[in-house]
Symmetry: C2
Subunit: 394 residues, 2 copies
């Protein structure tokens, strides 16, 4: 039998009073029970009307349509919230309101990366800087070759054919790093100018450089991620450009830098993750820059602007609020929305405080939902935080 | 024996005079012969020094390094030009200067797409508009279902499970199209407001809509291209959302819209093509908006700002300037450069006038070059031009 919903327009509430419907709500983990009546949240009411054939009437017993109920509860990104809630429920999983968070769940893991350190012999190096396309070229063959073979800076010779040619080509990140840490001198320019030209091309250049430097100083090797749709690809400490047994070493991780003060269309952001995924790389997100000090309200340390509390699966069954803990906090988004670095950083901060993992749920224009889980990783010695982003099919 | 180059600093020329070297230049298709002396272009001289071990000296017989010669010929995107020239040569292929173009080559093909037309019965439709996330929802089940089944507007029910749910969700392109062409009415908003909110989210909304409308009016079906990293995916005229033999119809084409007045980082643009390529879709580029009237210099109808004239392969051999025609014009770019819609449109216009195909050559920060060929396609009846972009390995 279809569930009966009652819309109290005056108090903006959706109630379930009819006994059989109440039971069905309780077993289905919908709403909150209060003195024999279940009060539903808007997404729950909309879902029951859309999918479970629930009928809704107002106090005067007039039938109410989906759009009328939605209209009464108008809010920011209402449909993105609804479609992502719906998708979670359609998968047979339980989603609840974030207002019921009342403990630290301790379910957010931190992955620890290995780290080495950067050590280099003293060099005297000189390069010519090409301001319009940001390369610096060392034409002293011996210096360029050693720099490449021992430390994998620049591209010596030809890509995948080092023996062909005698120049070493440094990109702007490598050149700046070598100027700051290893005594590189530009014959026709200087650090200040390199930064000026690089910022003209790429306004976030210094943010990208911060990330480059952070990993390089810990022994990782970073090269362009162009082929994989990201800013850098990463090799773990100890990597070298030379082939072992004629096999190329393949990077397994790529880094995308998302500065706090920048904004990006969700669809563009997702594109970067898709390319990395299609080439089987782990996608690492870097949010460089200083954290904004955000006051945490003392009265509710579990307050969050995130959208839903998600229960997942366990041992062939599903988690539920009665005998289990939630796993994720859902951030409901839609394809044509902008997301800011700061906003994402705050969402991650909320998850850390509450002890859950962040799950981005992106509804495309056809309401098909794509999920990305965001997991913290620790780079020992770094003052920044990094995140692995994984495509999930819950 | 190594080639001998002579750098005439005063006249900014690189010359080859030694007889054996002259012969080697002529057979290798380097430079221009003038009274027994070959004059080289800067990229040729740099290439010979870098790869062919050429020695360069000035008039006083001082040895000159790569960086000294490069410094003398400083110009816009000099290294992007050099690395893409080098890559073409490294493949054993011939590249020449665009200054030698003197005819219309007639080697640019136009692909013709089939086209139908858009026909629809009269409907009376009403939807609620959700301004913050741009969806419009029809909650009249019969109307929404017919609109979906017969014309594939909106997403009825659930994505890949139409029988689940009874709402029809229209995206902003579909809603605007139905308002303009099929009598859709928004219960809580209007066309002007929808455009206002959509432009707030996506400043190029109306350009994207122009493209959407252009293809829709010619019988194609356009849905979101989110999963494939582009603005739209396309089904050819006659496509329907229903499965035949329980098989999903798969789109084979995606469209990316690049407005004339917008600029995009090459790396971001390339990312979009990569996603499409990884899912085996044909990538279509749309450059909507009015062409800027550009005066073509009367004295040289073959003038172009493009970078090199490229000879390719034929029947197991390579094309060369002696007994064949060039195939492409190369547009030399680098990963961290911006490209504008207008600039790309002009490059395409040059190629059309000269009768060659456009080849984008993008050098990444490691000087590895990726090629994209741009081929015109004709959508019968459309006033716009569209292009297929193909990843090439020359």
């Amino acid at each position: 039998m279809a569930v009966e919903l009652e819309l109290d327009k005056q108090h903006k509430k959706v109630l379930v009073k009819e006994p059989a419907s109440v039971t069905s709500m309780v077993t289905g983990h919908y709403g909150y029970m209060k003195k024999g009546t279940v009060e539903l949240f808007p997404e729950e009411a909309l879902y029951l009307m859309d999918i479970r054939n629930a009928k809704c009437h107002d106090s005067a017993l007039n039938q109410c349509s989906f759009n009328e109920v939605a209209g009464l509860f108008e809010c920011k990104k209402q449909m993105a919230r609804y479609f992502t809630y719906k998708d979670w429920r359609d998968r047979g999983l339980i989603a609840r309101q974030v207002s019921e968070i009342c403990e630290k769940y301790g379910r957010n893991a931190v992955k620890k990366y290995p780290a080495g350190s950067f050590l280099m012999d003293k060099f005297a190096m000189q390069a010519r800087f090409f301001p319009d396309d940001l390369w610096s070229i060392i034409d002293d063959e011996a210096v360029g070759k050693e720099l490449y073979d021992r430390y994998w800076f620049g591209q010596f010779g030809t890509y995948k054919a080092e023996q062909r040619g005698k120049l070493s080509k440094l990109d702007a990140y490598e050149a700046l790093f070598l100027m700051r840490h290893c005594n590189l001198h530009l014959s026709n320019s200087n650090e200040h100018e390199l930064i000026k030209y690089a910022k003209r091309q790429h306004k976030d250049f210094l943010h990208l450089y911060e990330v480059y430097e952070d990993w390089r100083l810990r022994g990782f090797v970073l090269k362009t991620g162009f082929k994989f749709g990201t800013h850098f690809r990463i090799y773990f400490p100890g990597a070298s450009p030379s082939r072992s047994n004629d096999e190329w070493i393949h990077s397994k991780h790529v880094i995308h830098v998302f500065p706090r003060d920048s904004k990006m269309l969700i669809s563009e952001w997702s594109r970067a993750i898709r390319v990395a995924h299609s080439v089987k790389k782990t996608f690492i997100l870097a949010i460089p820059g200083e954290k904004k000090k955000k006051k945490i309200e003392k009265k509710d340390p579990f307050a969050t602007t995130l959208d839903f509390l998600l229960y997942h699966r366990h041992k062939g069954g599903i988690e539920n609020p009665k005998d289990g803990k939630p796993k994720y906090l859902m951030f409901s988004l839609s394809e044509e929305e902008y997301i800011g670095g700061e906003e994402l950083a705050e969402a991650i901060e909320d998850c850390k405080r509450i002890g859950l993992e962040l799950l981005l749920a992106i509804s495309d224009r056809e309401t098909s939902v794509t999920y990305y889980a965001i997991k913290r990783l620790e780079l020992p010695g770094s003052k920044y935080e990094y995140y692995e982003i994984e495509w999930e099919q819950p």
